[in-house]
Subunit: 441 residues, 4 copies
């Protein structure tokens, strides 16, 4: 079994009694505290009959359980908390902000909560972006709206400048809601904080609409994204059936992981071809997409193609540009495919009725579904518990149906992708009945 | 007052008793017949005190009221009816098909109803497209889905070929659901039918998601389209507010008329600039869009632009190509604007966070809202009444809240547009608070 | 033709130039003023060939056109406007409030706008209900929520007390959003205002989810209500089909008019029996509902019944109680029918799987659909135009697709009902294929 | 640690090669087979530092992993499969049916699939209910509709009669979609099958909108139910805020478990009191609900109460009647509370504006959300894998995020309830800020 480091860093000993029972008029039993020695097993598949595997279920296989601690590190009425949202929009951002604010305020009695505007850019004094004071009243119904009330951005000033600002603000805890690049930044910030000998918790809530951060079973917002993407595929299907040899082409998010495309295909049942970054495909040749598409149209008179934005990048002239968060800029596979298909069909003298739908911004800007909303609330609340207990450099994650702490460094060490030989992709193959491979050798 | 010709052509005298009371187990009172001499006034604005205007409310101002007639032209059990849907998808197509089938079947007892596949292309024997028999069972819940179960297309074979097929099918009535170009075609077909001395009703149900056919107060599907477009604008607004100087740009349908853009702006309240074909605008110069946008962003930090596809065509290098229905092919104003705005902002060293949303296919493919659905049902039912009474070359329309017959020739003689000095545009100006004019002289 | 009084009362001569062009940076052409002598014809059906009917299209047949006037009665910066919402909730209330506030503020520059809390109860000093100051900021996105931000109630203090409070508030105009009973109250208030020699406009926006106020083609909120009711019928249909001889029973609003039930039946197509106040029915006997239901179940194994709350009142022991607005309290026809049907089926030894759904509060509390929202905005804006021009005792209404002024006294003189021999009921009979009559003699 | 029996019964040795790679044009790697010795750990919380607990993570703690097996028990082209849905409607029933049919047909090549109508009643020859042949075409888009295309019922004929019918049908496998009582029935059927020496797999898909079957983390349909219930609470909140001291009361499902109420409260944030079967409450006395409600209204002027149908049963005169599935019939707590609250408020001379919403049938009849739909598809597919491998008396369940087999006998041995001292209820207490206890001693 792979050796993993799930050890969570803390700022120091927890000596302060949690105010939760008092603040919530609860006895201790109802406060439902989690003991610091409670762990959640990471790998829970057991091969009966294989030797020595009992010990494997302990060493390097234990994640720290999230939840409120009986004793905490910070004195609540000394706390000044900061919240920041970075990167692209994702359903549920406002839900997480709201849960953090409400948990700090009601469960712990914290009264100084500051929203930092437009991601890390808000920590750059040159940008002159005012902070936003947060309280239960001004976050009361923000969960009914998409987007983030704090604004977001990519990039930002130097790590030193960020920590300078954090220090000047007298923050004791920083909640960072963002993706892979953002959490990288959070880690550097936490390192710099440590170097300066400051006592500031940095707790991340992982946001990735692509669902590609490791050790997180399902990212918040993904479920809502799939629900929205299903609508787009439904439209593409309707358009495809409405025309002679109609082709609907839908592009969804997924730079390096095809989760949204795969889940959307399974939830909608209308996609006939699913193209993801994890599975190489070719356009031409007897096994290529174009030939497979022609065959499908000859048989069924319409077809729907669902493509993740990161699929088929080898087919495009690779662009070396990177965006401000350091993500590789991708050429647009949707537009590229649309052109290639139309050219191919016309060259063969066949109808070329292709309708291209790019619903990305409508997906990202959606308000969270109730189930997603509930999940975001739990992530936010548990981020607060972690920070109050002095945990730092840590993400809140759902794993094996339990909320756990994952060290940021471990989580961002590699990306999570769709396994082309795993059950999800097998279900996609079964459902779409698309060819197992669309390459020629 | 303008002299208009609202005279409806008929195939001959109506001598057959309507079977509606019998088929529906109704007495005549409940059958709610419309008398052939009932007219609906076209222009109903009266300027009190002006001379001689009483007579104006009669001459050339009377539209024929739609509805079931006590005596009809066709013997129901001799009838073979054809239904055809042409042009781009529009919410409600299936509702209209369903209503025509149910009315023919249940109200009149007609048992031969044929769906022609993929628009006028389905009348071309070379295309080898099978017909689809229609009955209440196979149209039972099609109204819950978008698109058209018959398929659609643009263009088609020669008028002679079309009528040859119609003749070979032994149709007595043809229901044509389509837009301006399609109804032109219907008129030529009806002329050719007449030339051959055939007795075939041609009745149109006007379909224009752009809402630009004259003498039709509101086309079916438009309301649904606006509801969907409101969602797109909401997403654009969320994206715009989520970024520094964020700009949301949404393109909606509207080749020559900006109704959808205008109504969407009024229903959503989130658009700050509305660009329509009827109102010229410039990009550059002190009064141009770019300068106005910069000012808006300086003041409010985000902006939403809603553009109809036909707006600003003079700004594009005009393409002379026409599509198969003869519509001028428009270069894409959305993509063009996105480029120009980003270039302009970058050149000025300002943030250029533009998110472009083109929801057109998701709008077109939506299922009709209940209110639209209800309207489609009434249009379809009344198209059947018209055809059974031997009316031909006629559209079913809503005017002054009443269903009426409009001669196809009259309806397609000119387009309906948004009056830049009328109340709708005034409301758009008031709501958006955009500049009255974005031209420089 | 019936002689109708459409004469609108005014407070005096309009001598003040409208500030609309100035405030909106418009020229006069764009301001789109309506001339006070513009009328909309009320009855626009013309029977060609009948004698002397040309004059009929003028006398007693002219409604005053709504819209902004070039000259107004009130000096905008002297105006203090009050807004009040009364009676049961209805989709669109917040939209109307929002439009009134925005039109007063932006189009006319009025800065004192007061929301009166909880209907006429808010005018009773004993209730000690604080007023709510309104401005474009605090009404900005209220249209995305159902209900009314002002609260509502039935009943209230004496007319004298109401006018005392209005006088004390120094209101110049009162916008009354409410139904029949509420507009009666508004009329009495306006009479008392006149008696006291005050110059206060009383302008009503008619609210009736039952759609039963006369001279109003379609009330705001009705379309949304039908859309919601369609969902309930869909659920009832699903439940009915899911059980042996399953029966779905849905009760919708409609005290004296069955519009919602009728429109819902037409939009959903799933109802098999529609029961409305306008059409008497019996339970027992060979033609009664119970026998008809048994037959339907024998034939189709499931049935859906849609009943308006005011239907079949003669079948209930009439309750003489009235609620605080003076409406007759109705015993619950839904619960009554459910009991009678189950008893009847059990007595005959037949399956009695009835599911009863009462979605009323979910319908009332819904946010307006975009189309309804747009309509509310137009009603609210035109109410402001009317008040600014010194019109009083007047409702804003849509008639023959045009916005008009209807004197409150005329509008409330009788109720609008579904005509059992008109086209809507005929369509309900055709669609449901229910018996023409379910009485025994 | 509690000793649990997770041993799954099988009909015999699996000797037949799975046709999945062949039928799906896959190699074995892509077929993603699960080995029969793969287990999923049941209890995965580990208390670090406690003695001897490593072994606990094996004995009695291993659930069988669900999934396709390389070798199967049944020869696919000999298989005749039956599908049955029992009990109340629940979102997702059609999705499960569809997935079973598609998996049988496409993955295994089974061609005889029979739907049994109206639950176990369909196995009673006296009921004369025709079977329904199922194939991918007639289940193609049933997942877009609520309810069950097979119909459902409670109760049914004797176990002997059921097995007689199953034998006469020559079924090899029976898929039973239903709740606790239904799975009890399935167990008796499987026992009788064994007694007769027949080789018929009985595989259950647990359906409980109350989410109260043990060893199932989240039942299908629950997420959709919560989403619908959130709407009802939203309406109640809107109504409550719209009236003086307005009270919204919503009843949701939950006979013995308050999961839906608790999750709805957490997802909606609008409920102020949540009443569940697991937490006793009193109406009267200083700590009772009525007093707490009065205080809330005095403070906030409106209140929303969310009650599970099984809450407060001790407050009702217990009815001893049971329904046909053997569930205790509950008196209606919603109606009871509504009466008591109104009486109490009137007696104290306080406003009594209570609006009662019972959305149960609208919740049950909803179509599954995309995420629920996806989950149902996975349950159905894995039920097929289990049956093809000869597993019997087994349920398909999600546990610790993995799909597993749970013996029916184990699953129905006790009910799952909301733990009043667990994290969900603590979150409800924190979110609603309701009193910890509403009893007086």
């Amino acid at each position: 079994m792979e050796e993993l480091d799930f050890t969570v860093e803390t700022l120091g000993e927890c000596k302060i009694e949690s105010p939760i029972p008092l603040k919530n008029n609860m006895d201790e039993a109802h406060a439902s505290f989690v003991n610091d020695n409670e762990r959640v097993l990471y790998d829970i598949i057991y091969h009966e009959g294989s030797k020595n595997n009992r010990d494997d279920y302990v060493e390097g296989n234990l994640m720290e359980k999230a939840g409120a601690r009986r004793h905490i590190y910070f004195q609540p009425n000394h706390v000044h908390a900061g919240i920041i949202t970075c990167g692209g929009l994702c359903p549920g951002l406002n839900d997480v902000i709201r849960a953090i604010v409400r948990s700090l305020w009601y469960e712990y009695g914290v009264r100084r909560i500051t929203g930092i505007r437009y991601g890390y850019q808000g920590l750059d004094p040159n940008n002159n972006l005012p902070f936003k004071e947060l309280n239960p009243t001004n976050v009361d119904d923000i969960h009914t709206k998409g987007g983030t009330i704090l604004g977001s951005s990519r990039g930002g000033p130097s790590i030193e400048t960020r920590v300078d600002t954090i220090e000047r603000m007298n923050l004791n805890m920083l909640f960072v809601i963002g993706g892979d690049g953002t959490q990288h930044g959070a880690l550097y910030i936490a390192d710099e904080i440590k170097r300066r000998g400051l006592k500031i918790s940095v707790v991340g809530v992982p946001k990735t609409i692509d669902n590609d951060i490791s050790f997180i079973q399902k990212s918040f917002g993904v479920e809502t994204a799939v629900a929205e993407a299903v609508n787009a595929v439904y439209s593409a299907h309707t358009e495809a059936k409405g025309a002679i040899d109609g082709i609907g082409l839908v592009k969804v998010m997924g730079r390096e992981s095809g989760f949204i495309a795969a889940h959307t295909a399974l939830a909608s049942n209308d996609a006939n071809f699913v193209l993801v970054p994890e599975v190489k495909f070719e356009l031409d040749g007897p096994n290529g997409l174009l030939e497979a598409l022609d065959k499908r149209l000859e048989r069924s008179f319409h077809a729907v193609i669902l493509v993740a934005e990161g699929a088929g990048q080898d087919l495009l002239e690779a662009s070396n540009a990177k965006d401000e968060s350091g993500n590789k800029k991708l050429a647009d596979i949707g537009v590229f495919l649309a052109q290639k298909i139309v050219e191919h069909r016309k060259k063969k003298g066949l109808p070329a009725n292709l309708k291209y739908i790019d619903p990305s911004y409508m997906i990202r800007a959606a308000a969270a579904t109730p189930n997603d909303s509930l999940y975001c609330a739990r992530l936010g609340t548990n981020a607060v518990h972690a920070a109050m207990a002095g945990k730092t450099k840590v993400l809140i994650s759902m794993w094996n149906y339990h909320l756990v702490h994952v060290p940021i460094g471990t989580a961002i060490s590699k990306r999570k992708v769709v396994d082309p030989k795993g059950p999800i992709w097998k279900d996609v193959l079964s459902t779409t009945r698309m060819p197992l491979s669309m390459t020629n050798n």
